[in-house]
Structure formats: C-alpha cells, structure tokens
Symmetry: C2
Subunit: 434 residues, 2 copies
C-alpha cells in the first residue's frame, strides 16, 4: 500500500482518527491510556539498517521505497484525549495529521498500543469503583498476553487508581509501587507450614504478608497467631495475611476472628484468586473484612471484554473530508472535537461530537500533543495522570460510578451532520453518476 501511495504521489496530508465504535455491554464508560507510549513510538520512529536490509533482500520493494523508508521519521501532528480521561463511543482519542504514507504506516502499532492500555485502564477503573478504599494490586503478569502486555497492564491499572503491581519492571521504569508476594511453593518447600511462615518473616520483616491457604486457611491463621509473639519479640510484625482460595467472604470473617482473638488486630487481610470486579462488588457488599485485593487474569486480559471494537480511519485527505460506508462500519468524516458539559455540582452532563471548528460550549477534550513531530508541552507525570483519573471518577454520573447500565448522552453536532451530508453527496456523485 505504501509503495502504491509513493508511486502515485499520494503523499499529501492525511488525517486519521482512532476511536472505539461502540462500547461493549459491560462498559458504561472507557478510560484513555497509552498515549505516552504512542508518542514515544512516534518520536523514535525509524527503521534500523538491519530492517532496511531485510526489506531490500526480500525483493518485494522498489529501491525508491527502501530509500523513502530509510528516511522515515514522524514529523506530523498528534492531538489526543489525555490519559486518564473518561471517554465514550465514536469519540476520537487520537488524531494523526501527517503525509498519507506515514500516517498509514504507523496505524497497526498505534492501535496496538492505545487499544490495550485503554482496555486495561477501563477494566481497572471498574475494579477501583467496585472496591472503594481497598488496596488493589496488579498480580496479572503471568497470564497477560506476552511481556509487553504484562508491563503495560501494570501502568494502565495504576493510571486508573490501582495501588501498585507485582511486576518489578513497572517500578523501575515508572516508579509504580511494587508489592511482593509469597507463593504456595514457598510453603510447600518446607515440611512444616509454621516453619515456612517463620522463615519468610525473618527474611522479609517489612510489610510482611503471609499466604495462609496452602493446606487449610483457618489452620494457617492459627499458626500465624501462634507464631506472632515470637516474631514480635524479634521486632517483626505480621502486617497481613493472604487468602487465595475458598469462600473468601466466610474465610475472611473467620480469619479476622482468629487474628483478633490472637491480638493481631492490626494484621490486614488480603485476598486473591481469580477475582474480577463482580467478585469485588459481592465481597464489599457483604462487608467481608478484606483490606485489599490482588487482581490478575481478569485485569490483564480484560477477560470479559478482551478487545474493544476500535478503528483508525482516514477522515480527511488533501483537504477533503472522507468517510467509509461499509455495512455496519460507516464512520463520521473530518477532523473532530469532543466538548463535555458539566452540571453545577461538577458531574458530567453530556458530550457533543462535532467538527473541530464547530462552536460548541463545554470543555474541549482533544488536545494538541505533537506539532511537527515535537511535543507542545512537557508530558504529564504518571502521578499527574493518576490524579486526573481520580478526579474523573468524581465527575462520573452516579449510575456509571456504581457500574450500572446508563446511556451517557453523546450528541452529534450540527456541523458534523452537515459535513457528513456533503461527503455523501460527493461520494454518491462519483460512485453512481445520475
């Protein structure tokens, strides 16, 4: 496709927008994430000598194409909805303005980056809303789809309000707080569970959390209380215990009782084991005495909705708005903006989607990020993004905050409707002359 563009001189400015067509049933809202990695990808866009050589040797491309690829850099514009912002269907979360072949070439990786982090941030947001005040930790690297997914899920869930992750590299790269864990294998490697607890406690005295379900959870809790005085004498406090199987509501109660009776009132209970936001809602609804949760597979694979119906579509080329009409997949043409209105109490009241030059009241969500390949401002820190996301939760309409069905109003602005009619008229004329 690139070669055809180059050969036919179709290198004028193209505008592509990335958006989610329609929210899945179990998502009342989505949360944008991954923009920083998308921008880093564009800033570093270049083919290596080794890659160019491979393309050359493939014999598939003309020398002029290889030369063009050798000089490839991203010098276009990017506009985007900031990370941590709540968004809805058809709203462009990223706009690319660049020569057509460049904007086309970056498509797959841009989608790959933005889709996944937004998917995970949106799932994590549900967990944060389901378990207010509880500590939430990402445990999901192992069943994430590859290493990059595991790492990016740690970032995206932190954006949405998680407290941290067990993926160490996210701490090294971005300062995401790290939470270690103790595995069943540690306990199993000892012949005696209590001996395993004591060994772990003496090696890791700070923020000590003991996993107590390897054989029998209540038995495990009793061993912890029996061990606690000896550890206390050595200056070690049992910060928490972890339950990873069984009826967590019932077990958390009995374990709480055992701990309290053993004088371990300050020891927290942490739960994990195949949980999702529905489980959190149930456990929190039952007032289970659980202080924090480890979320794994359901978070990092967004297991109930493992993909969003997203698209990266040409909206304008050489100054003319464009549109795709394929059955069930028609798109709104042109460069667009989203304006958000708020009620007097700060709660989101509704969005308007229209052409970027329309005059609509409200907060414009799509913001300039790159101009001529350069950042227009210093990127927000991960903490700033996370604080922005936290403010977004406060502005969510009540049903969305309670994870209940609610059709948030997104209106289409007049200018966008007019532009769409114009494009259809133009295409129609050219497709089937009267």
């Amino acid at each position: 496709m690139l070669e055809a563009y180059l050969e036919h001189g179709r290198t004028e400015t193209a505008v592509f927008e990335f958006f989610i067509r329609k929210l899945p049933g179990r998502r009342g809202f989505l949360m944008a994430a991954g923009l920083e990695q998308a921008v880093e990808f564009l800033e570093n866009l270049a083919l290596s000598p080794d890659e160019l050589d491979w393309l050359r040797r493939s014999g598939r491309f003309r020398p002029a194409t290889i030369d063009w690829l050798a000089g490839l850099r991203f010098t276009g514009d990017i506009d985007a909805i900031p990370e941590g912002t709540v968004f809805f269907g058809d709203e462009p979360i990223l706009r690319v303005t660049a020569p057509l072949p460049v904007a086309q070439l970056v498509e797959s990786r841009l989608i790959n980056i933005l889709h996944y982090q937004s998917l995970v941030a949106s799932k994590a947001a549900r967990m944060v809303l389901a378990a207010p005040g509880r500590r939430l930790v990402d445990f999901g690297f192992r069943r994430a789809h590859g290493a990059e997914a595991g790492l990016m899920a740690a970032r995206a869930s932190y954006v949405a309000g998680f407290d941290g992750t067990a993926t160490a590299l996210a701490g090294k790269l971005w300062g995401v707080p790290l939470y270690g864990t103790m595995a069943h294998s540690f306990v199993q490697s000892f012949d005696d569970e209590a001996a395993a607890f004591e060994a772990f406690a003496r090696a890791r005295p700070d923020g000590l959390t003991l996993l107590i379900d390897t054989y029998d959870t209540e038995d495990g809790a009793r061993k912890v209380t029996a061990l606690a005085p000896r550890l206390k004498a050595a200056g070690i406090a049992v910060a928490g215990v972890r339950l990873d199987s069984g009826d967590l509501a019932a077990l958390s109660r009995s374990v709480r009782r055992i701990l309290d009776e053993g004088g371990l009132d300050d020891t927290t209970i942490f739960a994990s084991g195949g949980l999702d936001e529905d489980d959190l809602l149930v456990l929190v609804g039952k007032d289970a005495p659980i202080d924090g949760f480890g979320l794994g597979t359901s978070l990092t694979t967004s297991s109930d909705v493992p993909a969003l119906d997203c698209a990266y579509k040409l909206q304008e080329y050489a100054g003319l708005a464009r549109r795709k009409l394929s059955t069930g997949k028609a798109t709104w043409p042109g460069r667009k903006q989203v304006w958000r209105r708020y009620r007097a109490d700060g709660v989101m009241a509704g969005d308007v989607l229209s052409t970027h030059d329309d005059a609509v009241r409200g907060e414009a969500l799509v913001q300039p990020v790159l101009r001529g390949g350069r950042r227009v401002a210093v990127a927000p820190t991960l903490s700033e993004i996370r604080e922005h996301a936290a403010r977004e939760f406060e502005r969510l309409p009540e049903p969305l905050r309670r994870l209940q069905p609610f059709a948030y109003p997104v209106e289409v602005g007049d200018r966008l409707k007019t532009l769409t009619e114009e494009v259809d008229r133009r295409l129609h004329v050219r497709r089937a002359p009267p």
Copy 2:
C-alpha cells in the same frame, strides 16, 4: 521469597510443572506452543548491570542476594511436551528441575510465554479444523495485547496450520509467509474507487488482492471486472478480492457470480471482518464460495477464552514429592509423564497421567529438552513443528476434529495415586499429629 530461600539455604533441587488445570468448556483439546521462546528465555537468563544496580539502589535486598542474582544462569533441566502436540487438562507441558530459587524466579515469565502461545495455537487449531482447505491468515496484530502478543500470535497460529500472517516481523524472524493487505483508507484517499483499484494493481501486481467493500461490495466487484481487461493488457491478473463487511455468505455468492460473468474465474474471494471459528463453520457449512479468511481479534486475543486456568506448581523438593491442597486447586504430586495410546487406525485412544517412573504402555509425550542448561538436541524448525501439528489433527478423535463436545479420556496411573496417598499421609501427620 528468593531472599528467604537463600537465607535459609533452601537451594536444593526443586521440580516444578506447568499445566492447565481444566479445559474451558469451548476447548475439547489444547495445542502446546511457545517452548522455543521459553528455552531461549532460559538460555539467556541473566540480569544486566543496570538491573542489578537498580535492585541494589532500591535498598530492598541484602548484598548477598544481589551477588547471587549477578551470577544467575539457568543450568537446570527442562522436559516438555513438544510444540504442536495436542494435550489435555493436568498434563504437564513443561517440567523445570533446578535449584529452588532459580526455578521459582523463572516462574512468571515461563507462564507468560507458554500460556499465551498455547492459548493462541489452541484457538487457531479450531479455525484450521473449521475451514479445511481454506487459506487462513493472521490479521490480528492491531488488537493483540501489545507487540509481543501480536508477534507470538503470528508464530503460534502458523504452528497450528495457518498459512501466514500480516505481521512482517514474523517473516523476518521465522520465515512465516507474509500476506499484505489493502486498507479502506487507500480506497478512501482516492475520489474514485476504480482509480484506487487501478493504482494499487499497478503498484502491487503480484498476488494482487483488491478490497471491494469500502462503499458497496457488489459495485466494487463490478468495477474490478470492468478494470480487468485493461490490467490484463498490462500483464496484471486480479488474484483476489476481499470482502470485509456485510452478509459474507450472500455477498460471496453474488461477487462470485459477478466475477465469473466478467471472466474472472480464477480470481479468489477472501473474507475478513471480526470472524471467529463459529463464523467459519457457518460459512463453510453454507458452501459460501470463499477461498480464504483473515482472522484478527478473535485469534490473537482468543476472545471467547482469553486465558487458560494454568498453574506452575512445586511437585518435588529435595527429593520429596510435594502437593498443594488449597480448596479447588489441589495438585498431583511428583514428576509426571503422559502416555498416549492410539487405535489401530492411528486415532488417539486415551492418555495415562502417572509418575515418570511408572511402567505404562504408550507414547511418552514429555521429552528431555535441556540437561544442565544445554539442549539435548537441535531444536525442531518451525516447519517441522507445523508438520507435527498437522499430523496431530489427523490423529484427533472425530468429535474433537469436528469441534464437538467430547471428553477425551485421561486416566490417572496407579503409581501417581499411590504417591499422592503417601504425600497426604506425610502432610497430614505433620499438620495435625494424631
């Protein structure tokens, strides 16, 4: 955990096995994949000076732990079920035999690699069985969960019998056949669809496939037949057309008729657009004249089953078999082997899971891969793995080959039952002395 192991001298030989606990409802069998990447990970296991420095500066670890990590290499044994082999629940697809801290440290990444590729190979296998004789191409990079997932999905689906991928790097790294594609944006960037077809054809004359659904599919097909004579005069044949939306069964018939009437009998029809194996079964069942399919999101996210219930568990430490008893998650102890029996006609008759030293008739599936960190044999090529997978399909019981429910028999051998009783007796005695 590592620090606790080191401090307490728990560095004797541990045996961990990786397995899927239970097959999900929509998977009658699974296919192993990812072993080559798992072995490469182990062969290259080492922390970089930068990583060691970061760990040191974190202040979380004792100097002795950092020193141990600086010297970390994998010098243990690996046994595994070869890639492309069909397997079932509880069957160990990988066994790690190494000092306990090493075997524990590699856990997360080993699971991350093996789980995802086996997940995708198992999904791809269903698609291959659903559409025999059709060309299947992986189009799923964009919505895969990150870059590594997109790349590994190209490999895993090729193992399972796909014809190729649109992910170029899989061609560069492993020689997976590459299939290019034409996007709607290419068509949209021209004011006239026929002009777009001609431009693409002249730039990419070999294996030319035109995407004809940007505006109206049947219209698109008519434009192709109108254009064909002029292209033919230039020595260019329209190898195929692609449909990406609408009622594919009906459209493929009308497009086939239009192409045939236009003298394009040899032009194939390729279909894509959110398809999964159920769609393939329906389209093939309806005898839709579709020669090949592009599979995207459903393949690379394994959308109906985005994660398998897998585990990496300690089965033996310091010569003693171990077992976890957590509610609903109990495991079979010890080093295990899987023996597979076949009927006279070569079809798989049933498996026996037992301790590796049991005497069971049948083909032993778990094979030595690394001894002392070194390969016992040259790794099979990707083509060899793919051929092995193709033979596995021939040996599948008929209901599994037709993607129908079928409980393939996996028996537990006598020695494994005896060992489990022994372990329980030992654990019981230590947990609650009589």
